[in-house]
């Protein structure tokens, strides 16, 4: 039996794991929106495709189901390999989508580009459905079942790993955006693409970078999803993607720090809301927040007051 406080502690642990995943996924929406003012709905299914890439990467190492358990260096090696492969290929997928489907739409006014992303999302969805079938897949998990008892609540090794990986990636992204030339170029383009171009910034390169980074982070989120739930299927994009999108809006779409914060908040709302109210109400709560933020505070928690564009 758990007392009231350990239950809440356990739900905070659950919520932070969800939050880590939503944050990584929300960053992809925010990076692209910040630069193109485009909501990339294909991102949902880039995440879904990436979960399969991660599964195949692990299976290529001979890890399938829950029968192969690794420890120490082989575990680190397998995870690093899987993350590198998944993030790279997911990033490439994002770049390919940008190059084939969205670049021709550049400069087209209105919602054409956004609708294109919905179409691309459906194409990915159906390709995976046809390629791997509709049944849910048993995701490989080489992590040993190590856990710690925190006065009744359980903290598992995989949760610690997930948080660590998420924090490392987010710090890495922050350093990239604030400290590198390309990161500076990204920020400049986000502020004013026209002026940035006049200053000699290669805007196309910045856009490709944003798609690559956003999709690679979705790849990391997808692998985390698979390792955490030991499951994937062709339909996982929607519920995770919509929540991550809500997280991005809540944090202030376009704001990198906002996406991280929004993800954690949505994750905690999901787990604590489910505990304190009923689980069937969590969607109502989360999407009410989406509506309320859009109506009353469209710039979100950490967003810019208004896009600096004409």
């Amino acid at each position: 039996m758990m007392n009231e406080y350990t239950v809440l502690l356990q739900q905070v642990i659950n919520g932070l794991s969800l939050g880590a995943m939503y944050s990584l996924l929300a960053l992809g929406f925010t990076l692209v929106y910040g630069i193109l003012e485009l909501i990339n709905f294909a991102h949902f299914n880039v995440f879904m495709v990436a979960s399969f890439i991660g599964m195949w990467a692990l299976e290529a190492l001979g890890i399938s189901g829950q029968s192969v358990i690794l420890t120490g260096l082989p575990l680190v090696g397998a995870l690093v390999f899987a993350f590198i492969v998944t993030m790279t290929l997911a990033g490439v997928l994002g770049v390919v989508i940008e190059r084939l489907a969205l670049r021709p739409m550049r400069g087209v006014r209105g919602t054409a580009a956004m609708i294109t992303t919905i179409g691309v999302g459906y194409i990915l969805f159906n390709i995976i459905l046809l390629a791997v079938g509709a049944d849910s897949k048993n995701y490989p998990n080489p992590m040993p079942n190590v856990d710690w008892d925190l006065g009744g609540a359980t903290l598992r090794l995989r949760e610690v790993l997930i948080w660590t990986i998420a924090v490392v990636l987010m710090v890495g992204l922050h350093l990239f955006v604030t400290r590198t030339r390309l990161g500076k170029a990204m920020r400049a383009t986000a502020q004013d693409a026209e002026a940035a171009r006049m200053m000699g910034i290669d805007v196309d390169r910045v856009i490709v970078t944003a798609f690559f980074l956003g999709s690679a982070l979705a790849g990391a989120a997808a692998l985390i999803f698979g390792l955490y739930y030991n499951y994937t299927s062709f339909i996982i994009g929607y519920s995770a993607g919509l929540r991550a999108f809500t997280a991005a809006v809540l944090g202030g779409i376009g704001s990198v720090a906002g996406a991280m914060l929004g993800g954690v908040i949505i994750g905690l709302i999901e787990s604590l809301g489910g505990q304190l109210l009923a689980v069937r109400w969590t969607d109502v709560i989360i999407f009410s927040i989406l509506v309320l933020v859009l109506v009353f505070a469209p710039s979100g928690l950490l967003g810019r007051a208004a896009p600096n564009k004409s």
């Binding site: 039996m1 509709a134 049944d135 048993n138 519920s239």
Partner: protein
């Protein structure tokens, strides 16, 4: 293909005459044909079981056609898919469209399906208006055939929804009796997946559990398209039940099995025929599946020596073993073919009206025993079989007949 003219040019006249005579007879036989529909979710997470079920029915049709048809009728099959990518599993809206297709085709005389009760609820009123009988091999929600809901599901009056399985009015409560009498648990928690089948099953279980004196600590709902159930499972852990009962299908079931293995490793876990599923065992895998209890709404016949050759034939034909509802689908198709035969033998026109009446009066020896229906379409035999999942490494993980161990018949409600 050889044309008739080429044959004439190449073959002696006698051979041609014989050939033509044969062809003529064949053409005559093929002229007389009727169609039987099959509606199962071939898209989405239910597809794997749906194919196993459909294959069971197809054996009966192929046997009949191989032996020259039924009373001179060649049996055509119209297979419709009620799964959609938007639902990710069975989709009642698609099932309603399929029911209209069956009803509007005058050649369709009866159907097998649907697999899922949610689809059954959508199809029954349409089939009733068209007076077209369907036999479901697996959908167990009792409302569809309950006379109380006749205005909703049977507006035209006659029974059109027949079953070769019993209903959750027995499956759920019998399992509650098993909890109380055999497993001897006291405090339980109930989850369902929000679908017609899952909710009905969980509610029927809950009512009987209370009647049996069990303490129901809570009853909550899982969203099948959601990935994370750790929140609800943590909540359940804090309440501390001895057993968990799940009413639902594999889409939510796989995630429930996996995550409850992590969060609630100690307690007894059980479900209905939604858990007795190839897709679920394959998706959830071992060790998470180990120890789960499940039921089916039919007698367990797979170890019956009379049935062994049928299982072998199934395996040889489709390269994969059957599931328990492959048997009931085969039985259902036998009932339809028998009905067609009786109608034709009586010299009546073979159509959906006559075949429905013949199905209503069926009394046929099938794999599971003699099948006959009450006036609502429910099978008279009401046996619920209980299983427990134990990994059998000699067989593929999705071979449910071998991954579940038969424990016996659940205590019937009185």
């Amino acid at each position: 293909m050889t044309t008739r003219r080429a044959l004439l040019a190449q073959l002696p006249a006698a051979a041609v005459a014989a050939n033509l005579a044969l062809r003529a007879r064949h053409v005559l036989a093929a002229d007389k044909s009727v169609t039987v529909g099959i509606d199962v979710p071939l898209t989405g997470s239910d597809a794997e079981n749906a194919i196993l079920i459909k294959n069971g029915a197809m054996i009966a049709v192929d046997d009949a056609n191989a032996s020259g048809g039924v009373a001179g009728y060649h049996i055509d099959v119209m297979v419709l898919d009620d799964g959609t990518t938007t639902a990710g599993q069975y989709d009642p809206a698609q099932a309603a469209i399929n029911a209209r297709k069956f009803v509007s085709d005058p050649n369709v005389v009866a159907a097998i399906g649907p697999e899922m009760s949610g689809c059954g609820k959508a199809m029954a009123p349409i089939l009733s208006q068209g007076n077209l009988a369907t036999i479901t091999p697996s959908s167990t929600n009792p409302d569809i055939t309950d006379p109380k809901f006749a205005p909703q599901f049977r507006p035209a009056g006659k029974a059109i929804y027949f079953r070769t399985v019993t209903t959750d009015a027995y499956q759920g409560p019998d399992m509650a009796n098993y909890f109380a009498q055999t497993l001897k648990v006291q405090k339980i928690y109930i989850l369902d997946d929000g679908g017609a089948y899952g909710v009905g099953m969980a509610n029927a279980f809950e009512e009987q559990a209370k009647r049996d004196g069990l303490t129901v600590l809570g009853h909550d709902q899982l969203d099948p398209r959601e990935a994370d159930y750790t929140t609800i499972l943590t909540k359940i852990k804090a309440i501390g039940p001895e057993a968990l009962y799940y009413g639902g299908t594999s889409l939510a079931g796989i995630k429930l099995v996996k995550q409850s293995y992590e969060v609630l490793p100690q307690i007894i876990k059980a479900g209905g025929d939604g858990v007795y599923s190839a897709a679920l065992v394959k998706g959830a895998g071992f060790p998470a599946m180990e120890g789960w209890y499940a039921t089916i709404a039919a007698p367990y016949i797979a170890e019956n020596p009379d049935v062994a050759p049928w299982i072998e034939r199934y395996r040889a034909k489709f390269g994969q073993g059957p599931t328990s509802y492959s048997f009931t689908a085969y039985d259902g198709m036998l009932v339809i073919l028998d009905a067609i035969k009786r109608v034709a033998d009586a010299g009546q026109p073979v159509n959906h009206d006559t075949v429905r009446d013949a199905i209503q009066s069926a009394n046929l020896k099938t794999l599971q025993g003699t099948v006959s229906f009450d006036e609502n379409g429910d099978i008279k035999n009401r046996i619920v079989s209980v299983f427990q999942c134990h990994q059998n490494e000699k067989y593929p993980v999705d071979d449910v007949l071998h991954q579940f161990k038969y424990l016996g018949v659940a205590p019937e409600i009185t």
